[in-house]
């Protein structure tokens, strides 16, 4: 109870800084979930999409196309799946059918076909492509898939590979600096108060108890903020850094 009242008393002195210090780490943890998406969008905005390996295929009908699209998105190495616009593909199909002088009955079934473009997110080998192809053929069962050639674009190492990390690191450093900026006045206030309590009350080892309590309160508030899943590793690193900051200054006033 003493420690709770003590922290509440300290909170009332610097409420804004306390809120930032408690909430910001959790914002950082939460941002780890959405950061990759945000960073990807920013990097695409800055340098555009990088060409990747892909393959085109034509399905016998729209139902099969939708089914394959759902299944293929769940596979590894897949960056995205695009369905060709029907109007766009229909014109090209009709022109080809006319050139080949195919009957109108056959034309109807051909016009039902839907095209898909599967892009891969890494450099996929021919063997891996054959595995994916075989898997999709098995899923299609009796229905027909016409495969286009596998376009293999080799991955070229360039500065854009490091841009994601640079952006990611910059955001984390800015957040951590904001946290440090708000944390030090709190640390100063806490360490001064604890020093005085140890000097003017018959208590000992107040400092580690207060900081343990502070971290417990922080974790409890954080769990409430995040709701459920918590990337413990990242928070563990954060607590370690924080503890190092806290331990560094034991006495807030200089000795005589």
């Amino acid at each position: 109870m003493f420690y709770l009242r003590f922290l509440w008393g300290q909170f009332k002195v610097l409420p804004g800084k306390f809120i930032i210090v408690v909430a910001l780490p959790w914002l950082m943890v939460a941002s780890l979930k959405i950061m990759p998406l945000a960073v990807e969008k920013i990097s695409h905005g800055l340098i555009g999409s990088r060409p990747t390996s892909y393959v085109n295929l034509i399905c016998s009908d729209e139902e099969l196309a939708k089914f394959l699209e759902t299944r293929v998105k769940a596979l590894p190495l897949i960056a995205k799946v695009e369905e060709y616009a029907m109007a766009q593909i229909q014109g090209a199909v009709a022109k080809t059918l006319d050139d080949l002088e195919i009957k109108s009955a056959d034309q109807d079934s051909l016009k039902k076909m839907v095209g898909l473009k599967i892009s891969f997110d890494q450099q996929v080998s021919a063997r891996e492509f054959e595995l994916i192809k075989g898997h999709l053929n098995r899923l299609a069962a009796t229905k027909e898939i016409i495969w286009g050639p596998f376009i293999n674009i080799p991955h070229v190492q360039n500065y854009s590979d490091y841009l994601d990390w640079a952006l990611y690191g910059t955001v984390l450093i800015i957040l951590y600096l904001v946290w440090i900026f708000n944390f030090f006045p709190i640390k100063n206030l806490l360490s001064q108060s604890v020093y005085l309590i140890e000097r003017y009350q018959r208590r000992s080892q107040v400092y580690p108890k207060i900081m343990t309590f502070f971290i417990i309160v922080n974790v409890c508030v954080g769990l409430q903020l995040l709701g459920q899943k918590m990337p413990l590793f990242f928070y563990g690193v954060f607590v370690l850094l924080t503890t190092m900051c806290i331990i560094e200054v034991r006495r807030p006033w200089k000795k005589v």
Binding site: G9, L189, Q192, Y195, R203, K255
Partner: protein
């Protein structure tokens, strides 16, 4: 004026050391609180204290005098336990000796109110509950003349009021020994005299031992108590102030 909360905490019965005081030669049955034996202290290569021998007993009122740099603050820091001596030993005469200090630089938290600063001295082993503490704090505030300033921030107080707050904070937890380093440097003589009267009351009625450092020997002469005079880190005189 205040509830007698400190007498039990003093624990005087635990150590009845009967001895003659070195300086007066009279029989002294007061319990020994603290004894410094051949204590020296150095800051790097600079020697601040050399071979200090000093006994502090229950009910002592000791003025430590000396020019600036004579080692008063160092001696007080060693007595209060803030600073370990480089050489020599310190022994306690009673169990759980509790020493509070009025620091020269006061060590008040500027952005807290006077009341919140004083709350740092709310020792639960002395006060049963918050009401009891507040009652004592309010009464003491009236005696020291800081009652009207209890809700003000420390940063808005003048030097004299700050010193009074620091002294109140040191008295509130009912210590066995109060160590005050130049506690009246920002006060005029009248205020200093009043403060001395309050401390003398605690000294005689509550058996609170007090060690008061001052560079102003003329001021100290006007009060009654023992005196320890330091010169260049050496204790050159200890005895009753009235004999000087």
């Amino acid at each position: 004026m205040m509830k007698d909360q400190s007498s039990a905490a003093l624990g005087f019965n635990k150590s009845k050391i009967r001895s003659f005081t070195q300086e007066q030669g009279t029989l002294n049955t007061a319990p020994l609180l603290l004894e410094l034996s051949n204590v020296s202290h150095s800051y790097a290569t600079v020697s601040a204290l050399k071979g200090i021998n000093l006994q502090i007993r229950g009910g002592d009122f000791i003025f430590v005098t000396g020019a600036s740099g004579a080692g008063k603050s160092t001696l007080l820091s060693i007595i209060s336990g803030e600073l370990p001596p480089s050489h020599g030993s310190i022994s306690h005469g009673i169990d759980k000796l509790f020493v509070t200090q009025v620091f020269q630089e006061l060590k008040l938290i500027d952005n807290l109110s006077v009341k919140d600063n004083l709350r740092m001295a709310h020792d639960p082993t002395v006060y049963k509950n918050d009401n009891e503490f507040m009652e004592v704090m309010t009464e003491m505030g009236k005696v020291f003349g800081v009652y009207d300033a209890l809700h003000r921030k420390v940063s808005s107080l003048n030097g004299g009021l700050k010193q009074k707050v620091a002294i109140m904070r040191a008295l509130l937890p009912g210590p066995n020994l109060l160590v005050a380093d130049e506690p009246t440097s920002a006060l005029d003589f009248e205020s200093t005299k009043k403060l001395y009267d309050v401390l003398a009351y605690y000294n005689s009625k509550r058996a609170l031992s007090i060690v008061w450092a001052s560079h102003n020997r003329e001021l100290v002469r006007k009060f009654s108590g023992k005196m320890a005079h330091l010169e260049k880190g050496i204790l050159v005189y200890s005895g009753h102030a009235c004999f000087i």
